[in-house]
Symmetry: C2
Subunit: 238 residues, 2 copies
């Protein structure tokens, strides 16, 4: 299967594989520095241009990090590093895909909120409460600010589950632009009050450390957003 020659595969791709192998093989660990671009290109027998393309690819994947004048480093390889590219989905998605994203969140968010009810620290709960207050800050609050607080509210909850991978995926699924659009729509539809109730109910369940109540509250919340978006797409013609 491994095709020793493999001359048919593009040069930068081979370089990418070699670097990946270096990391997987433990020759370079997270946070460590790689040989210089010039050394690497000579070592793998490719031009520096191709090597740079390979490095660029691994950089966009969140595996490597280039520091001008210093060198190329392996990232910490934390889930958040590798899933940063994820947000592109929520950014460019439209219509049907947006509904699919929300459907996935409906699977994740209740379970995550329930987990948070069991795992969240007191500091987490404080921060969540603070964000809740910020969302309710009078009717003159700028829409953008409300959306930001909403985003932070849910992200903090998911982060307090202690599962970094889950948090990274969830963050990718709820981009800023996505949430802003939903909030703008909700304001029109006059559902702001309902969402406020949802958030308060979620917060109460977390403070009470009641996983079941938290799961139920989160389910109600996501379902409400999903139903509105579904109706909205039907009108605007997805």
């Amino acid at each position: 299967m491994s095709d020793p020659d493999g001359e048919r595969t593009p040069v930068p791709q081979r370089a990418v594989d070699r670097i990946k192998a270096m990391i997987a093989g433990g020759q370079v660990g997270p946070g460590e520095r790689l040989p210089t671009e010039r050394d690497l290109s000579a070592q793998l027998g490719v031009s520096r241009s191709s090597m740079r393309e390979a490095i660029r690819a691994l950089t966009t994947l969140g595996v490597l990090e280039s520091r001008h004048g210093a060198g190329v480093y392996v990232t910490a390889l934390r889930p958040a590093d590798l899933l940063e590219t994820f947000s592109v989905l929520a950014e460019v998605s439209q219509g049907r895909t947006l509904l699919e994203v929300l459907q996935v969140r409906r699977m994740l968010e209740p379970a995550a909120t329930a987990l948070a009810a069991a795992h969240a620290s007191d500091e987490d709960l404080d921060r969540i409460g603070a964000l809740l207050n910020r969302m309710e800050g009078g009717p003159d609050t700028v829409c953008t600010d409300t959306a930001t607080a909403d985003l932070g509210f849910h992200q903090t909850i998911v982060a307090s589950t202690g599962n970094a991978t889950l948090a990274a995926i969830h963050d990718g699924l709820s981009s800023h632009t996505f949430n802003a659009r939903v909030w703008a729509g909700h304001r029109e539809a006059g559902l702001t009050a309902k969402l406020r109730e949802d958030h308060q109910r979620i917060h109460e369940a977390l403070v009470a450390r009641d996983p079941d109540a938290a799961r139920a509250a989160a389910t109600v919340h996501v379902l409400r957003v999903e139903r509105w978006l579904s109706a909205d797409l039907a009108v605007t013609g997805n």
Copy 2:
């Protein structure tokens, strides 16, 4: 008002933004062809090398696709295109992160399997059944083959929910290398028979179009894998 140019941002990054803007602005739609690398570089006032790095970045993100001798094209921008990079996570993850991945799958897989029980077509069920048989193909079956069939089994189930975004995320969470490792471990632990029961139970629930049974069966399955991995990590010292 400070720095209208923004000359401080790296050149390829600026090129990436410009191309993104071209897509977002509708100047080039999904599947359409971009100007040649030479034209683009002249048009944006950057060198062809930098333009190539920008294209390479967008290619790894799944937004663009280069065809040797033909040109550079915008992908269909489907979720599967944009989430292909996702699999890197499951590839390089180790220890703790592996458990986190499994925990996320425990949230997604039951809900997805339940959805599949309601939405799967007869053809889907046939394919799932075929893969189930392939997994049970006698004791002389190569381990790699069993792992592949297992992977296909779950992927086909998730794909039959009709939610392409969900399918793409799930695929990223269950890479081939990851599953192969788990299967190798299971063979040692002699849990193969148990897994077979799990799979059969899931299949039966799908054929019966029973969402609740499907959800329960999937939960049991993922939980079993998760428990084994947890114990294994404790031994090998994560």
